[in-house]
Symmetry: C2
Subunit: 443 residues, 2 copies
């Protein structure tokens, strides 16, 4: 093992993601000489990313080869690593949300998991056929549902990645501590992870956190105007901690607990003046900033006189993607938070469900670290219900049973009547971009 590899990037048109990947690759000396093959269905974005990558590497004098193709199969030829970051567009999701809101669901429904699973399985089948020994690295959502599906349906080497677990750093910041000196173990399932261990230089941080909650949190929430994505220390996070007994980490705070999400007023109460990342306000801001960042990347990339490494300085991102590839390819042994089939890593959860746990990653592969049992409240209140939702999704996906999908709406706490759920599902199915899904799901 070691040295140069071939990496295929599916959905490379995600400009922010790909720019981060390019930066990290250029900074990873052990991967010099590698080839990166970008794939996207959007030729304009693909062209832009490809040119950007070449120029960035050239400015740094780094030996990396970049290819581009609309032909996924070509990109997979000889690949040892396949990164799948593709997902349905935000525009489609917004159309679904709007339609749900008209029917009494604040922030609506997204059925994007269905086409995203379809895409994931298509990629996985191609990998099986063309480069079956490659690592398939899934970063497009839903990581939990998708990785569970793919690891059940194939015998590929699959790992799901997410950066949500870095949320613990924000806890340190707010407590006035250096985030780099905090150590956190936060296992669970993707977007449902909880700090079983939270330490500052070996000192348990929970007592400090409790003290902060008792004496400073109200002041913090009153005076602090949180950014739309500062959910980690929101009232909702502390409430979940109070209910479940461990601190929820990262995106967990965004999606756990129906009681925080019923309407904008409720969201404002729990996530601050903007209603959090996923309120109508917060999400619009996110999309606007994302568009601005993409625009900026496009603008810079279109300017042949721009110095890319000045515009986007060559500092590593916090993403584990490239370090993990380096660890696998070149035996750079390290510990990373990964999403892999449970098989005992978390005691008491089913074996064939993908969990998020730390793992030792090296030339020997990905070796999950057993973290024991999680508290019953967390297992029975949040993880098992989410596992059941995933099972319903996979069953709908497998069987094409539309009634299975109806349950997704029926069991939502916002639903008031069966008719509301049925009517909304039919309306979602009638959206033009959902046609192929509607055809796969019998009436």
């Amino acid at each position: 093992m070691g040295g140069s590899v071939k990496i295929a990037v599916i959905g490379a048109g995600s400009a922010v993601f790909s720019l981060g990947l390019i930066r990290d690759l250029c900074l990873q000396e052990s991967l010099r000489g590698s080839t990166v093959s970008f794939v996207d269905i959007d030729p304009e974005r693909l062209e832009m990313i490809h040119r950007l990558a070449g120029r960035y590497a050239a400015e740094l004098g780094v030996d990396l080869r970049f290819e581009k193709t609309a032909d996924r199969e070509a990109a997979l030829q000889g690949a040892q690593y396949v990164i799948n970051t593709a997902a349905r567009s935000h525009d489609d999701e917004e159309a679904e949300r709007a339609l749900g809101e008209q029917r009494g669901y604040y922030r609506g429904f997204r059925l994007s998991w269905f086409p995203n699973l379809t895409l994931m399985m298509a990629v996985a089948r191609d990998v099986e056929r063309i480069c079956p020994d490659a690592w398939l690295i899934q970063s497009g959502n839903p990581v939990f549902d998708g990785c569970t599906l793919m690891t059940r349906q194939t015998s590929l080497k699959i790992v799901g990645l997410c950066h949500g677990h870095y949320g613990y750093r924000r806890i340190g910041q707010v407590l006035g501590l250096d985030p780099d000196r905090i150590r956190c173990l936060a296992p669970g399932i993707n977007h449902g992870i909880y700090a079983t261990h939270l330490e500052y230089e070996g000192e348990d941080l929970y007592p400090r956190l409790d003290e902060w909650i008792a004496s400073e949190s109200e002041q913090f929430w009153r005076t602090h105007q949180p950014e739309y994505n500062d959910t980690q220390m929101s009232r909702a996070a502390i409430e979940l901690y109070r209910l479940l007994g461990l601190m929820p980490i990262g995106d967990t705070v965004r999606i756990t607990g129906w009681q925080f999400h019923l309407d904008l007023e409720t969201k404002k109460k729990w996530y601050g003046p903007l209603g959090g990342f996923d309120s109508a306000i917060g999400w619009a801001r996110y999309l606007k900033r994302l568009a601005e960042r993409v625009d900026r990347i496009f603008t810079v990339a279109a300017d042949p006189s721009a110095r890319l490494t000045e515009e986007f300085p060559p500092v590593p991102t916090t993403e584990a993607l490239v370090p993990i590839i380096a660890a696998l390819a070149n035996d750079h042994r390290g510990e990373f938070q990964v999403n892999v089939p449970n098989r005992g890593a978390i005691a008491g959860l089913p074996d064939d469900v993908v969990v998020e746990v730390p793992a030792v990653v090296s030339g020997w592969g990905i070796q999950p670290i057993q973290v024991g049992r999680l508290p019953a409240r967390i297992v029975l209140y949040t993880l098992m219900p989410r596992i059941l939702e995933m099972e319903r999704r996979l069953e709908a996906f497998r069987s094409g049973d539309r009634k299975m999908l109806l349950g997704e709406l029926l069991w939502d706490h916002r639903t008031r009547t069966l008719e509301q759920a049925e009517e909304t599902l039919e309306a979602l199915m009638a959206l033009p971009f959902n046609r192929s899904m509607a055809e796969r799901l019998r009436g």
Copy 2:
């Protein structure tokens, strides 16, 4: 084996239950010479049942011995069969309901499962100590949660019984068929069972049912004034069939699907003019009729000149209790619907959960019949969520964690805010008869 046995009846003051038991025992020739030891905490009821039993047997000239005691341990001495029918009083449950209704929950909450589990475990521990080889027959509710708990915590021979599966007979009646010639296989978990097979003289009844739904059901619902307990052919039952693909049987129709139970109007829509068995109207009628039946039993029992076998003719009930004891004691091989640990009887459900399946009962014991896998809709929409609820209850019971109990309310579809759930739980805990539960559950 064979011949006379000793049967202890815990909660014998349940007059309707005990009268049925007495009738069936008197009619079961193979159990002549047996001893029945009645136990109850209510001396008046106990005295009445004891006298009633003796007179009833005497009138029939049947050799059965009846004892009574307030001392459970004494009753268990030498018992081969222990029937536990004890449960919290309806009065306490009504007080809990009223309190929930004041807080926006139609029909409120009953936490009676908690004291009932406490009682079941106390009986099970006594059986373990005093008559460990006895069969413990659980008929008090919650059968599902209680039998799962007891079979996990002890190594006793435990079986849960319920008559809900006879609901299939009502399907036959409404279709104009002789119920005695219908065969139905309805496995699941107690109060969540579904007809995988429904036949009339070997003919699949589902097509007939579909025809009835298409051409006659609306007329039936319009013209038929259903009795409060005629839920089996209600709109709710047919809607569940439409959603889940198999006909729900018996009590399943009463408790499945939040969408039928939000308020009285909703219940009337789905269960007919009285709102079904569990509406305020239906339940009040049930309690009234129950009180009338108990009164009548008391009145007759208090009249030394009454001929009991004329007032309560000696015809067998539909309960399987006595036939099962006869089958076990005297090798009267038969097939019965029982609640026992799964261990593969229903494929795809956890092994250590009590399921309701048919079993061959004989001198060899209770041998559950493997019924295969249930449809995914039923498993993922109704059985697994109920299993999760049971796991939360058992965990609350085991750990004394009040937050676990809060989840019972929080996850209820009627709950609109966390405060509502918390306030209601605290109010329930403050009820005088819940004091010992409140003490066991930490704040």
